[in-house]
Each structure stands twice: as structure tokens, then as C-alpha cells.
Amino acid sequence: MSGYFIETGWVNLAYLVASVLFIKGIKGLTHPRTAVSGNLTSALGMLLAVVVTLLANGLDYQWILVGAVIGGLVGGVIAVRVQMTKIPEMVALFNGFGGGASVLVAGAAFMITANPDVQTTVSTGLSGLIGAVTFSGSLIAFGKLSEILPGRQISFPGLRIFNALVGLGALACVVWLTVDPSATIAYWVIVAAALVLGITLTIPIGGADMPVVISLLNSYSGLAAAATGFVLMNNVLIIAGSLVGASGLILTKIMCVAMNRSLGHVLFGKLGPSADGPSADDVYGGKVKSTSPEEVAMLFDTAQRVLVVPGYGLAVAQAQHIVRDMANVLEERGINVEYGIHPVAGRMPGHMNVLLAEADVPYDKLREMEDINTEMEQIDVCMVVGANDVVNPVARTDPKSPIAGMPIIDVDKARTVVVVKRSLSPGFAGIPNPLFAADNCLMMFGDGKKAITELVSALKEG
């Protein structure tokens, strides 16, 4: 694999520099202030790695250019045009492309390796396996997120046994490849089996669990690149792939903790039964107080601290900009407005923060769940917009509830809670929310955008 215009030592040194730039780049993401330059640092690392690689002898530049222009244009157009609400779909798609690229690279590399040894065949097999699962799994996740496919859990009897058999079959082919490296066909059988597996593993997972799934697939796309690095014995692939693998795993864990579910439950199980809990009538009967925008406007007359707790319903109603307008009006009156963000408020890790940033909400107004919970007693008015399960106090109080133990934002401890919601319908967990019937809670029924628009005009008149 030698043959560069410069010594391979220099090439590898440049790869080391690129790896350091990737690490520096991610480190920049530890604060919003340094994040933009961090991203550029990481991009510079990629540029360096690519330029150095292009110095190899005998490359087919013409065809590389064709591929690069097509891919670059597609990526560029997606990046410029994608709506912020659709970022989860885009990330799902990109996870898949990363996995697909690794499958093709490992396949091509295996084809040109004379007398591959055990480590090459095993890493080629793993690269094909992980990459192909990532590719088809991500396309299914994309389909579910963009509602091309139904978001509910789709399952059939014997699915787990089927998956186990396909998985074992793929592993058997890895062994086959190791025993007989000339059997290139074995590689493509692995890829085919893994493509099926990616579909059958992702299709039974419900829409509510998609934040976990895309985080996990993000991790896989990195691990596939790392496995390809073992095929090519290329350190920059191994390092960059491991960084992405680690990142995806961390986010997967954070999402699981935030939903109080184990990874095994997300991948193979279902939500616990909710039938034996109290019925909606028991919880709400005669205790729910409905309010009007004018009444809520008056609540703010005496308020000093206001907390907005957004859920995905806010983004669906496209209400983030009007919420920001409301905050502007309140801040002009000297009221402190902050936002309490639950980790699964959006449809992927950190999604709600991006949606609010797009609406010009300053990032230092966004407070994490644990952080704001310690100050909840000092909040005069808490506005819950389009969120349900993540503010359901049952998670703290009823150990038998399906969401028992799930971390929530303790909005019920604020002095007054105003919930903006279309109806009393349950969230993903399918259980009633006693918050709505609490003494300090007022329900402002209606579409989030419309209700808050009315509230803003009531505030301006008042």
C-alpha cells in the first residue's frame, strides 16, 4: 500500500496532526463561545487528511472528482436547506451514509489485498457488518422520523429468533471469510445479512425512542469507520471513528437515563403496561381549572421569575418564535425569563436548544433540568408549552407508574403553573398527568402558537 509522492512517514505524521485537530475541534464544542472555531478546526483536520491522501501515486483523480462533486453538492444543498425541526432526519440519513461508505471501502480494500491475514478478514467482516446495519437501520430511522414509515412499533412473532439467526449467519460468514479469504462472496453475504438485520432491528422500535436510536446509530457509524481503519491499518480512520463511536455511546446513555429506560428495553422491549394506573377521570374529575390568555397576562403583573418549559409540541406548533416574543415583552417589564430544558424535550439530544437558538433565545437563558429543579420554588409562573410526560410528577410519587423514576422537571413545585396544551390527552407514556389537576395549575387550552399569540396581545394591551 506504499507509493506516495512524499514519504509515507510524512503522510502518517499529517494524519496524526489531523487526528489532533479532530480532538481539538470536539474540545471546542465544550462551550458555545468556542464551538464555531472548534468546528472549523475539525474541518481543517479533515481537509489536511484529504489533501495528504490525494498525494498518493496513481489515483484516478477524474473519478474521485466526479464522486466528490456529487457528494459535496448533495451534502451542501441539504446543509443549507434543512429546517431545524428536521435535523434529526438529516442526522439519521448522514449516519447511514457514513455506514454505507465504510461498507464500500472495506469491500474495495479486501478485493485488492493479496493474501489477507486473520486480522484483515475479521476487521473487514466487522466493517461490513456494522456499516451495513448502520446503513439500513438509519434509513428506517429516517423513514420513521420523517413519517414516511409509521412511527409505531412494528413487530411480528419470532422476530427476535429471526434476528438472532441472521446475526449468527453473518458471524458465520466472518468465520468463512477468515478460513477462505479468496471467497469474496462471503463479504457480500455478510453485507446482505446485515442490511436485513438493520431493518428488522430498527422497525420494532417506536417513534418515542428515536432519540436513543439515532444516537446509537451515530455511534455505529463511527465504529464502522474505525473497523475500516483496522482493514487499511490507518490510524486517522481508527482515531476519528473511535471519537464518533464514543460520542454516540455517551449520548445513547444520556438519552436512556433521561427516559429512564435501559438500552435493552429500548431495543427489544416495550413500555410497561399502564392499564392498572388511575384512570384519566379519577385524576382530572372536576379538578382541572381552565384559564384564558387575559387571566394569564394578569398573573405576570406580580411575577419576577418566569420559567418556560418547552416540549416537542412547541416545535410542532412552530411556537418558538412567539414564545421568544412573549419573553421580550416580559423582560421589558423587568421580569426574568428562563427556559428549563429536559434532555428529551426534542427528538434528538439537544434538539430543543437548537430550535430555541434559532428563535434568537440566548443560550445562557437555557437551563438544564437538574440545575433549574433546585430553584423551582422561586419560580413565580412556570409556562409548560407542549410538554407532558417530562413534567409528570407521577414519576416521583408512584413507583408503579410506567415512568416511575424518570427524571422530570419539577414544575409542580413552582408557585403557579400554566400548561399550554390542546387537550388533556396523554403523552407517549399513555398515562394521565396529575399536574393538570393540581391546585397551583391552570390549563390554557389551544394550539401553542395561537394561545401564546393571544397571550402576547393581552400582555401588550394590559
Partner: protein
């Protein structure tokens, strides 16, 4: 064997570095972190470029060019969309 051990060493150390720095990324930036990771996983582009060497079988070149296109979507799209998102994160005026 020695080369393999060296590669595993790099792999394990990189995983540890990854865990150390990524746990410090605040939840506010988790979405840009994921789209930025998308871009980094486009590193497969390096392998894709190498597969197009003209002394390779034609099929390897074809696979390589397809991989170049897929990886470039990630690299260009990933960095650009991350930049677009990060530019929206502003401090209070």
C-alpha cells in the same frame, strides 16, 4: 501481530480520549456534536480515495468512487450544517 497491537493501542486510547472530552460537551450543544460527528465519520473518505488507485481492479475503483460520494455528503453536509447551527447560539445582548 505487532501492527495489530499498535492499532488496538491507538483504538483504545482514542476511545478513552473521546469519553473524556465528550462528557464535557454541554447538553445545549449535543445536536451540533452529533452533526459534527457525522462530518468526522466521513473520514472513510480517506479509504475511499485510496481504493481508486488505477492499478486496482475496476470494481474496486467503482466501489471507491461511490464511497467518495457518500463520505463527501457527510463531510460537506456535516460541517456546513454544524456551522449553521452553531452560528445561531448567541449570548444575551
Amino acid at each position: 501481530m505487532e501492527a495489530l497491537v499498535a492499532a488496538i493501542t491507538v483504538f483504545v486510547l482514542a476511545i478513552f480520549i473521546g469519553f473524556e472530552i465528550i462528557t464535557k460537551v454541554p447538553p445545549t450543544l449535543h445536536t451540533p456534536l452529533m452533526s459534527g460527528s457525522n462530518a468526522i465519520s466521513g473520514i472513510a473518505l480517506i479509504g475511499a480515495i485510496i481504493s481508486t488507485r488505477s492499478d486496482n481492479p475496476k470494481l474496486a475503483t467503482i466501489l471507491g468512487v461511490c464511497a467518495v460520494a457518500l463520505a463527501m455528503v457527510n463531510v460537506v453536509g456535516g460541517y456546513m450544517v454544524t456551522h449553521r447551527m452553531l452560528a445561531m447560539f448567541k449570548k444575551k445582548r
